[in-house]
Symmetry: C2
Subunit: 467 residues, 2 copies
């Protein structure tokens, strides 16, 4: 694949196209942040950064890039973990973060229309104040909704409410050739041709640039209650999860964590966690129309946990107590990162009934390989985040042990009929593992879809299934 | 597009491939049922019908058809309404209805794995006995689940629970070239490349032949209550629907009907409907963990209906009473069909907040065009079924008035930012309307996707976006 090397004339043409020097950075003006994402494993500078303001600007840029054969990479808040928003071939980086307007709250249709640069935390604040609920709940609240759509972000409430895909009703998308199209709309049902909207969701900016999003909202649940359940061992905690699923209770979230990750989080936050007594914890959330109803829902689960050896079941039905639990949970990624010099992650997902086997496997892998691996995650939906820590190793040794650990974890996920990524995506970093996990015909079909959208391979090359 | 005219040698080769004469019909042996679907507007005989038993048989047929350039059309129970399962170019009709085994109920993962020929009513019976719930609830319970996946069938409970797409976790699919692949799996989350599973759902047998389906189940709600709400006029009834949506109540279903459709249904069933007092009705369903909770949920809605002029709110919390209401609702299509000599349908969907405008438009169209149009539908999700009745017209006049009515209804749906089909699909009959409603670039993208899956255009040609 060879692209045009950008010239001074290209830079000048794009500057003119945007017409506002404060929204264009080229060469030395480009901040280091634009060369990587949150995890930093993939590093490459674009030739130019354009902070676009509208679909029309995006379209004009895409037309130019198409004509000149210059690669374009869209970027939200840069909170990704797999290098999807890194300009692997240089060229143009489209910074979407200024397209951050709330366009419409439609109370007749229970939809919210936003631009892609709106942050997740801004969406929560906006809709909850008005009695609405946007259920997807990824850990990183400063991600953009455009990034969430592009990775099909999941989060903690997926156990009960599903993932981002389930809340995207319609999209405005700029195609690689610069045409602006609409997929879906405000309609609740749609059987009018192939679901192009569902192709875009999770495509990590490789098929089109999302410029408008229509989200489905729910009424805000009246009450929530959290349970913090300490267990004497990780094994006891995690073995309880499939039983909870099987019990047909409908928790909103079921997370697991180990004491050492909690200690990291306490240090990071400078705040104490409500309990220290145990080696491992489950935290569960329930929501519903009344406290009585929620009590009926969690009663059986609490009993089940105690039968399985839980040391206690701590009920948190006040906002303050809730916050101390969930704030710690929200800080895990940063806290783990603070405990080492470098790390990389896996985001495997396995059938929820097999989450205990996956967690046990990774736990055992630490002593087998002599490497620290910290894990936490969405036990209730089978999605596990495991971080492999460098801990001062020399580069060669770090690469060796990292790849070995990853190969082994993905192989085990495969045995359990899992998938490479539950919610973080494939981006640049996970491509070899996606390739290994897919049937060759499926990879070829994905590439055929990519060609249908982007025959010149201009948009975010090398990512997901790309060459 | 020209295909090979099937020869006696082809027929013999396919007979040998299946190896069981009772599962092969050619020429004169082909029953008339195989030449059309439920509505009968599209009629064409295949050259051969193969009642396949396994993915391997489907794969062998596809390999043969690919090599010989013979078109293949998959067919479930033939309950479709748009000609998707009619062999428009002749060739091979794959009757999937014998692939009707329940393969696995996985209680650890809350999934059910079935072959595509299992009937919807069989799924309900199977899972509900075990305390599980498969929410999609299309009117036609004798459809196959494969057909439901292929059209992304919706149904009445979509208001609260979503559509078939939302309950498909994984698919086994035979590609046009005969390769057997898997998309998705039992996992709850998945961000591992483009969602090919979501491309197949709703693709009406044009991208691959579905041979296995992994469905997501929910716990069965403990109680349900229905409300039958008579209104003095259609206008009063239907204008109440957006207010119900806006009130943030969460009904399971909100259907509307007019008295004359009810009278047709009574005649068809030979059974009385619980109420005759009114011109129009809303029927609502609520479900939940207890009667008290459900009462709290519907209280506000009942009050709202009365404020909007409802004549009464009849509460049905016994199975017998419920049955008399929903049985009538289930018989509407057959009942309307029994009231005329021929009919055709539209299945438009509009944003739910605009359903009252769409219903009023169609109602007024009857006198404008001097044709009977009977409508009913899923008021709560904006999906309306309207049947245009021939009532003994001469062929020319019938075609004229039918096309005029359809053009007008689709144009109005377009004004309201709706879509051509909410749940019945496009198939053969609705292609011109899909073409008109889509941006040309979107149609071209769909065709690009089709080419990626089926470069020889062997599988179900002419359907959806096909040439």
């Amino acid at each position: 694949m060879s692209y045009k090397q950008m010239t001074a004339a290209d830079i000048a043409a794009l500057r003119e196209l945007i017409g506002d020097d404060e929204r264009v950075f080229a060469g030395e003006e480009i901040h280091e942040d634009y060369s990587h994402d949150e995890l930093g494993g993939t590093v490459h500078y674009p030739d130019i950064v354009l902070r676009v303001l509208s679909a029309e600007e995006v379209a004009a840029v895409m037309r130019y890039a198409s004509r000149e054969h210059i690669p374009v990479t869209p970027r939200g808040a840069g909170t990704g973990l797999v290098g999807a928003a890194v300009a692997a071939e240089g060229g143009i980086l489209l910074d979407m973060s200024l397209m951050n307007r709330f366009l419409e709250l439609d109370e007749d249709n229970l939809t919210l229309t936003v631009e892609p640069g709106v942050l997740l935390m801004e969406i929560y604040a906006y809709v909850e104040e008005k009695g609405f609920f946007y259920p997807p709940d990824p850990g990183e609240k400063s991600a953009t909704i455009g990034g969430n759509v592009s990775t099909n972000a999941g989060g903690m409430r997926a156990v009960k409410y599903g993932v981002t895909r389930d809340y995207v009703r319609g999209l405005e998308v700029v195609l690689p050739n610069g045409e602006i199209v609409t997929f879906g709309g405000k309609v609740v049902k749609n059987s009018s041709g192939y679901s192009m909207k569902d192709l875009i969701v999770g495509s990590e900016g490789t098929l089109g640039v999302v410029t408008k999003i229509i989200l489905k909202l729910l009424p805000l649940p009246k009450r929530t209650v959290s349970l913090l359940v300490p267990f004497p061992s990780l094994r006891d905690a995690i073995n309880t999860v499939p039983l909870i699923v099987r019990s047909k209770a409908a928790p909103t979230a079921v997370e697991f964590m180990e004491r050492e990750v909690i200690l990291d989080a306490e240090q990071y936050l400078g705040k104490k966690f409500p309990d220290h007594s145990a080696d491992a914890y489950l935290i569960l959330k329930f929501d519903g129309p009344s406290l009585e109803q929620i009590e009926r829902d969690y009663e059986g689960v609490a009993r089940l946990c105690l039968e399985q050896g839980a040391l206690d079941v701590l009920i948190s039905d006040t906002e303050e107590r809730d916050e101390s639990i969930w704030k710690a949970r929200g800080a895990f990624l940063e806290a783990i990162r603070g405990s080492t010099d470098e790390m990389d992650e896996v985001d495997v997902v396995v059938p929820r009934g097999s989450i205990n086997r996956m967690v046990a496997y990774i736990h055992a892998l630490q002593s087998e390989l002599g490497v620290r691996i910290k894990s936490f995650g969405h036990a209730g939906d089978g999605n596990l985040h495991a971080y492999i820590l460098r801990d001062g190793r020399e580069e060669d040794e770090w690469q060796r042990i990292l790849h070995l650990a990853m190969e082994k974890i993905y192989a085990e996920a495969n045995v359990l009929r899992g998938q490479v990524s539950g919610e973080h995506g494939i981006g640049y970093a996970k491509r070899p593992y996606l390739r290994e996990s897919l049937e060759p015909q499926v990879l070829e079909l994905m590439r055929g879809v990519k060609r249908a959208f982007d025959p010149e391979n201009i948009l975010n090359p090398h990512k997901v299934c790309g060459l």
